[in-house]
């Protein structure tokens, strides 16, 4: 099993508290935003370029349905330059999405765990 010397494992045997804490680690909002941006940009770029490379018959428009994205993304089209314009838009949406998911994940944990701790015995309830 590959080990990364900076990945966490406690010096001593993990306590139950440590195990639980590992389940409540924070999501890194900026890393999630960056990853979301890159993946979404790549996805729309690939989706566009596949249609561009496949092409369409003479007299037919390439990717008329995917082109409908230009309603939301001015400047986008199913073409080589359009793929990169779309990637730019998708990266913004992916970044916002990744950031929000990570932020709400963290927020939910803070709120719910905090409330449960104030209530006490949260782990004992719900069985």
């Amino acid at each position: 099993m590959r080990r990364n010397d900076k990945r966490s494992t406690p010096e001593r045997a993990p306590t139950v508290a440590f195990m639980i804490m590992t389940m409540f680690g924070r999501a890194h909002t900026f890393a999630a935003a960056g990853a979301g941006a890159i993946v979404c940009a790549l996805a729309i770029c690939v989706a566009t370029l596949i249609l561009v490379i496949k092409g369409a018959g003479p007299g037919y428009e390439v990717g008329p349905n995917l082109s409908a994205l230009q309603l939301f993304w001015p400047g986008y089209s199913v073409s080589w330059p359009g793929a990169f314009v779309g990637a730019l838009y998708a990266s913004i949406i992916g970044a916002i999405g990744g950031f929000l998911v990570a932020m709400f994940w963290n927020f939910a944990h803070i709120v719910i765990v905090g409330a449960a701790m104030l209530n006490g015995d949260w782990l004992e309830r719900g069985e």
Binding site: R7, P10, M19, F30, G34, A35, A47
Partner: protein, 224 residues
């Protein structure tokens, strides 16, 4: 609490034994269930919000001709259409489907990652634990869980189109064949398409996890 430090390799097997037994514990199961619910709520609300925004944007941008594409979602979201009220009906369905899907993703992910989850954290040795712990994502497990969920979704949605007699008129669904070889709106197409979309899901999820983990290391992990 004392700082976490790196574990010498000689203690790894002992630690894993203890971790394995702890994974079985009541507390960890509770935590898994809790995280499943949190993810389901977060993703469900996010997707529902996204649908409402898209619907309203479509209405604002195209007026009376709105909904040429979005209305197709009404096949899977009963009562949904591009209108002020239809958006909220669709949001309810979207919340339900997205919450269920993300719960499936998380449970498959948790099962796939198994006892390795304690390695799925990042911290600098100088950081105080546990408040600075930042989760990392296991690329293969995430790829597997998202790929399988997407495959299941495509299989169910295609089967739904076939069962309800809409196969012949599902021109837009059939366009997926541009990306999924051998896909068509049929039972066989559902299986063939599921294999293709599993691969897409796996690759993109793997990429997402790898980029995320790299950025966590580069950015130092805690200022989020």
């Amino acid at each position: 609490m004392s700082k976490l430090k790196h574990l010498p390799n000689s203690n790894i097997s002992d630690t894993e034994t203890i971790v394995e037994s702890a994974v079985q514990s009541h507390l960890v199961k509770k935590a898994l269930r809790f995280n499943t619910v949190v993810l389901a709520i977060v993703v469900g609300l996010g997707c529902a919000f996204g649908l409402v925004v898209m619907t309203y944007a479509s209405l604002a941008l195209t007026g009376n001709s709105a909904g040429h594409y979005l209305n197709l979602l009404g096949v899977f979201l009963p009562g949904y259409k591009v209108s002020l009220t239809g958006a909220w009906i669709g949001a309810g369905w979207t919340f339900a489907f997205a919450a269920i899907s993300s719960a499936v993703v998380f449970r498959v992910y948790a099962r796939a990652i198994g006892m390795n989850f304690t390695q799925s954290l990042w911290f600098d040795g100088s950081m105080p634990a546990p408040t600075q712990l930042v989760i990392m994502v296991a690329p293969k497990a995430l790829g597997l869980s998202i790929g399988l969920t997407l495959a299941l979704q495509l299989m169910l949605s295609t089967t739904w189109l076939v069962i309800t007699g809409r196969a012949d008129e599902s021109f837009h669904a059939a366009l997926l064949a541009n990306y999924l070889p051998f896909y068509k709106v049929s039972y066989f197409g559902a299986i063939a398409g599921s294999i293709g979309i599993f691969l897409y899901g796996f690759v993109f999820a793997y990429l997402f996890a790898s980029v995320y983990n790299t950025l966590v290391k580069k950015l130092g992990g805690v200022k989020s």
